[in-house]
Amino acid sequence: MSMLEDRVRASLLAARRWHGAEIAFWLLALAVFWLFPRNLLLLNEIAILALFALSLDLILGFAGIVSLGHAAFLGLGAYAAGLLAKHGIGDPLVGLAFAMVVSGLAGLLASPLIVKGNDLTRLMVTLGVALILHEIANSWGSLTGGADGLQGIAINPVLGLFSFDLFGKTAYLYSLSVLFVLFLVARRMMNSPFGLSLRAIRDNSLRAAASGVPPSQRLALIYTIAASYAGAAGALIAQTSQFVSLDVLDFHRSADVMLVLIIGGPGYLYGGMIGAIVFKFLQDTISAFTPQYWMFWIGLFLVLFVLRGRTLIHGGVKLIMFRLPARVRGKRS
């Protein structure tokens, strides 16, 4: 019997072991700091977008919740961090924590709506909440700066040592660090009993309930966590650009982040990051040709991707992540 127990333990352990590709990924992410010193502002945007996409992955990839308004939490976090700094508390880590708490709370408040109701209701509610926040930010100009955006944000140096410079050096390392830490936490969560129960709910919620899993409670929890992650991404926007525009609550933000996630593929935590890289690259390239009609090409990309491209790209990713390492391992043994 003990041999079987060892096998069981080994299997469970294997599920959460770090792949070589993962380690390579993070080392590369750090290395670009020295490899592309002139593109750090763009890289910073990619890191922030990756974090935002990671937050969506938590609810979409792991819990199956389709949200049309995830930007609501991005915006909440951005304005929270921005306002905190503007009114005297300029430490970025404090601002980050504050933003995460505010958006997490919002997520918690919204979760009963999200958890009940069907797919269509959820789309409506998420869209509606984002629109409400957009309206509030637009109208409450005295607080948010309205359509002109929130200005006059002064951020203190990170940990009192690294001040934000014009080239994005501090910004990129700061955003990357936040992304990495939050990623580690998310990774641990998804490999925990909690994460397993989420996968169960996503896979077959009838069976999940029949196995003792309380779907509403778990979904509410992950939604709250995802909201606070999105808030963190928002805080990074506010802190690294020292400006919050109304655009942060726009519908296209919610649509873009969904596209980012499905490019990379939901459900394995890296999809958002890969998607962010591809998306920003696309955006950069296309905007060089047609800055005004970028929306058209993104729309076309979306249509083609959903119709055909998904199997192509995801097949490629799976090949790199799973089959190649297996073949290498096979050769060794």
């Binding site: 979409l60 709506l113 209701t121 789309l123 409400i132 509030i136």
Partner: protein
């Protein structure tokens, strides 16, 4: 006060015509078509082009907008939408958002980004004064047209063979197929009809809601509200939902202009909390 009620009802009527196609489509194929507003926008632009570039009288542009968009609907359904039926909701959402983006950018490129203004025929301009209540002529016209449409749709839905086949298919597509009802063909027809109605609604709505390339995005949530609140299994459900929405929107914008649009969203969220399956949805056993 009554004028506002009247205006709200007229507005609601147009919303109904715009959204009822979406409602039946969603109920029938369980397909989330966020691009519905793009069809409406197309109808509006057809009217604008016909009137401004070809001098076609306004009244004639209406059936032309309907037919034109319905035809586009037939083609798009065949070519683009059909492969999407089996896919999950996320894919459908992303796909239709892609279409919206293309439509919005396309309209911007072809027609420019400014609001379109049409010149209504003289007999539709101005207002009547009935017992101290101002009744806009155009709004009255819209109310009558849409009212007739609503009655015909309800009649068609409940009293004709096509309608009963449609209702059966909405209720349970699998059983309907088993009974020999050609559900896919039904859907193609319904999609075309719904798109045509959206186009007509877009044409009628130029004067009431404006027309610019951001129309599909601006009104996406209105259509979704009508469908969610009104349910997808009847014609009367979306009708009353649209009325409610129209009156609330007009009244809100009049009485509290700073947060006018805001009220709709709050109302919708509250409604969905109380009744997650919609106000008028028929209870499913």
């Amino acid at each position: 006060m009554l004028t506002i009620l009247f205006d709200g009802i007229a507005y609601g009527m147009v919303l109904f015509v715009l959204a009822c196609g979406l409602s039946v489509t969603m109920g029938l194929m369980n397909f989330v078509n966020l691009a519905h507003g793009a069809f409406a926008m197309l109808g509006g632009y057809i009217t604008v082009i016909l009137m401004q570039r070809l001098g076609v009288p306004f009244l004639l542009t209406l059936p032309l907008a309907f037919i034109g968009v319905a035809l586009v609907g037939v083609v798009l359904e065949r070519v683009l939408y059909r492969p999407m039926y089996g896919k999950n909701h996320l894919d459908q959402v992303m796909f239709t958002i892609g279409i919206v983006f293309m439509a919005v950018a396309g309209a911007d490129y072809l027609m420019g980004s400014s609001q379109q203004i049409i010149k209504l025929p003289a007999w539709l301009q101005g207002r009547f004064n009935i017992g101290g209540v101002g009744i806009g002529k155009y709004r009255l016209f819209v109310l009558v047209i849409c009212g007739i449409l609503a009655f015909s749709l309800q009649w068609g839905f409940t009293k004709t063979r096509f309608g009963s086949r449609l209702r059966a298919s909405v209720d349970d597509a699998r059983v309907a197929r088993g009974l020999g009802i050609p559900v896919n063909r039904l859907f193609a027809l319904t999609f075309a009809l719904g798109s045509g109605l959206a186009g007509l609604g877009g044409a009628l709505g130029i004067e009431l809601m404006g027309l610019d390339p951001s129309f599909p995005l601006k009104f996406m949530i209105y259509f979704l509200v009508v469908v969610t609140v009104g349910g997808t299994s009847t014609i009367t459900g979306p009708f009353f939902a649209a009325m409610l929405l129209g009156v609330a929107d007009v009244a809100g914008k009049y009485f509290v202009p700073e947060i006018g649009a805001f009220i709709i969203y709050v109302l919708m969220v509250i409604l969905l909390i109380v009744r997650p399956d919609g106000l008028f949805a028929r209870g499913r056993a």
